[in-house]
């Protein structure tokens, strides 16, 4: 199998599209972080805000973060995958345009239409606001998500076409044939394996999301067309789970591609690597019932599946990517520049986030932890300290000067401030979960407020450090290279 068939000659048009992706990503990350800090400050009584505004901001933060994590993941996957297969630049741009149209619709729904149904739009809440928002506002929100989903599907269709053209089947691109035959082609790119996995799971996930979004839209205007609430919940959580997980699986490509540049060691596919990615393809699809462990009407076998697969899902993360990253740096002569620091932090954040996730995926724990702040604790761990550092490591790498050798001390300091404040911010969520503080509450009991206040302060520091990185990265936007 060959590794690089496509010329990677810089093309100004593609570079411009990438710059647009990056500018959008950074701007939305900062704004959504601001929304997150505001929520914690409101719960901590630092800011007064009416509950309707709180829930609108909560909806904005959730939808915005999930969406922008997806967009950032796409930019990383596109950046590296185009080195191995021929992707269509126009569809890369189309995804961004549809994303922005969707964002405008969602902003309109929330800020003008007062939609506050939560990012998960759990049926039938969008249609039952008790007069707070109109059906049109709910439709704008649901329609916005649908438009964003169409953009992602277009991008994935292009990825599927390109992979099929090069490898003949998705199984070969994923390396299943190598697993079966036992003949491992160490030149088969990890990026292709990860991209194929994401393509498979997120196409199915996004299509499931499209089904429930369309049904919700129809129900808004034709309420006699009812949806079974349990089916709706299954579709929503399947879509949501797969989509947010896919963002990390796209972003981790940056670790596979870039960490070796700082360690001087290759990251090649191996039998465990291919087995792990094939297993993850299946597990990401079937693990979603762990979101429904408190729905006793679900078949028992699905709840058992949710718990057991939650546990097993941690194995590829810990024993392949984390283990592989540690072997990359073990007794190596690592060039600890900013990108390398962020990439190792990202692997740590992902691995560490798996721990509270697996614990909460155990039914006996879920009975007293589900829908407490433990839940945002674990997903902020692998998004704020996993996915986001992957994006930052990627951006600092591709925007560095070709012969850059001097280290930017201010960014180095920013890295430590970001890491420590993010850890403390996340641990306030987890500890609040231990104290049984429910999630998604606009107002907290007096006993819970000190946790919120600490969280708001730590969150503010995270926000300021992210703002600093954003300014630095925007200033380097013109240095971005497609061959970095």
């Amino acid at each position: 199998m060959t590794t690089r068939t496509q010329s990677v000659t810089a093309q100004p048009r593609e570079r411009l599209y990438l710059q647009l992706y990056i500018a959008t990503t950074l701007a939305i990350f900062v704004l959504m972080m601001l929304a997150g800090v505001v929520m914690r400050a409101v719960q901590g009584t630092y800011i007064h805000m009416s509950p309707d505004w709180f829930y609108q901001i909560m909806t904005l933060h959730g939808a915005g973060m999930v969406g922008i994590a997806g967009l950032a993941g796409v930019s990383i996957m596109w950046y590296f995958l185009r080195r191995y297969v021929s992707l269509t630049p126009g569809l890369f741009l189309a995804n961004l345009i549809l994303f922005i149209i969707g964002v405008v619709m969602i902003l309109g729904a929330i800020l003008l239409g007062k939609f506050g149904g939560g990012w998960t739009f759990l049926y039938p809440l969008p249609a039952k606001s008790m007069g707070l928002w109109s059906h049109n506002a709910a439709a704008a929100y649901v329609g916005g998500l649908l438009v964003i989903g169409i953009g992602f599907l277009l991008f994935y269709l292009d990825v599927a076409r390109a992979l099929l053209a090069k490898y003949g089947s998705l199984g070969r691109a994923l390396g299943v044939n190598q697993l079966i035959s036992g003949r491992i082609d160490t030149d088969h790119p990890p990026t292709v394996v990860a991209s194929t996995m994401v393509l498979i799971v997120n196409t199915i996930g996004t299509l499931a999301g499209a089904v429930i979004l369309v049904l919700t839209l129809v129900n808004l205007y034709y309420p006699t067309m009812q949806i079974d609430a349990l089916w709706a919940k299954n579709l929503i959580y399947f879509f949501g789970h797969v989509f947010i997980n896919a963002t990390i699986y796209m972003a981790v490509i940056a670790v596979y591609e870039l960490l070796p540049k700082y360690t001087g060691r290759p990251w090649k596919v191996t039998r465990p690597f291919l087995a792990a990615w094939s297993a993850s393809t299946l597990m990401v699809i079937i693990v979603y019932p762990h979101h429904l462990l408190m729905d006793m009407v679900m078949p028992d076998w699905m709840l058992v599946l949710g718990q057991v697969i939650s546990y097993l899902s941690g194995i590829p993360v810990l024993l392949v990517t984390t283990y592989g990253a540690l072997v990359q740096i073990h007794h190596a002569k690592v060039r600890w520049d900013t990108p390398a620091k962020f990439l190792i932090l990202a692997v740590f954040g992902w691995a560490a986030g798996v721990v509270p996730a697996i614990i909460d995926g155990t039914i006996v724990v879920n009975q007293v932890m589900h829908n407490t702040l433990w839940v945002p604790g674990h997903f902020h761990f692998y998004l704020l300290l996993g996915m986001l550092p992957m994006v930052l490591g990627f951006l600092f790498h591709i925007s560095r000067h070709e012969n850059e050798t001097t280290k930017d001390r201010s960014v180095g300091m920013g890295f430590w401030i970001f890491m420590v404040s993010a850890l403390l911010f996340i641990f306030m969520f987890l500890y609040s979960g231990v104290m049984s503080v429910p999630r998604r509450w606009a107002e907290h009991l007096a006993a819970w407020i000190p946790y919120d206040q600490w969280a708001a302060l730590f969150g503010l520091v995270v926000l300021l450090s992210m703002l600093f990185f954003t300014v630095k990265l925007l200033a380097r936007l013109t240095h971005i290279r497609l061959e970095a």
Partner: protein, 173 residues
């Protein structure tokens, strides 16, 4: 259970921090990759089987008996109907005695809600989802007297955080 989850999380994340820090401190010597990889990957298969064996033990011990049907006193279980709606709870009974085993049959009139039982110290004791068109059952035995609270644990709109009620648990009969 909450504190067990907390300490396990601290221990495993602490372990990860120690591993990462020690590997980072080792990353200056510039040894040959082949040698390091050969040495390090030798342990991975052992670790894999350790994780699998631990997983089997954890799964069996946490799933048997089936957590959702666990009840201490099935013969004398009281059945309590719970109906959720935006934004209040209707319960067929709200006063119990310590030692009462209760089967809550929980449903919703409108949107999804979450039925969470908190003890007098505001520590969550049990929960179940309340869903329109379905009845979820929750088995719970009150072990201590006091004023318990029911909190809504699934976001249900504007007054979600105000959707609470009180359960009174008297001393054992």
């Amino acid at each position: 259970m909450q504190h067990l989850a907390w300490y396990l999380t601290l221990i495993f994340i602490g372990l990860l921090i120690v591993i990462f820090v020690s590997f980072i401190f080792s990353s200056k010597s510039g040894e040959s990759y082949e040698e390091v990889a050969r040495r390090d990957y030798r342990h991975r298969q052992k670790l894999f089987w350790l994780v699998i064996v631990a997983g089997v033990i954890i799964s069996v011990t946490t799933l048997l008996p089936w957590p959702h049907s666990a009840t201490t006193n099935p013969a004398n279980e009281k059945v309590v109907q719970v109906v959720a709606s935006q934004w209040h709870w209707e319960l067929s009974q709200q006063q119990f005695h310590s030692g009462d085993a209760v089967k809550f049959e929980v449903t919703s009139k409108d949107v999804n809600h979450g039925f969470g039982i908190y003890d007098a110290n505001m520590k969550m004791q049990a929960q179940v989802q309340a869903m329109p068109g379905y009845t979820n059952t929750l088995h719970y035995t009150f072990t201590k007297p006091g004023e318990y609270k029911v909190l809504c644990l699934e976001y249900c709109g504007l007054a979600h955080h105000n959707m609470t009620t009180t359960l009174t648990v008297l001393s054992a009969r």
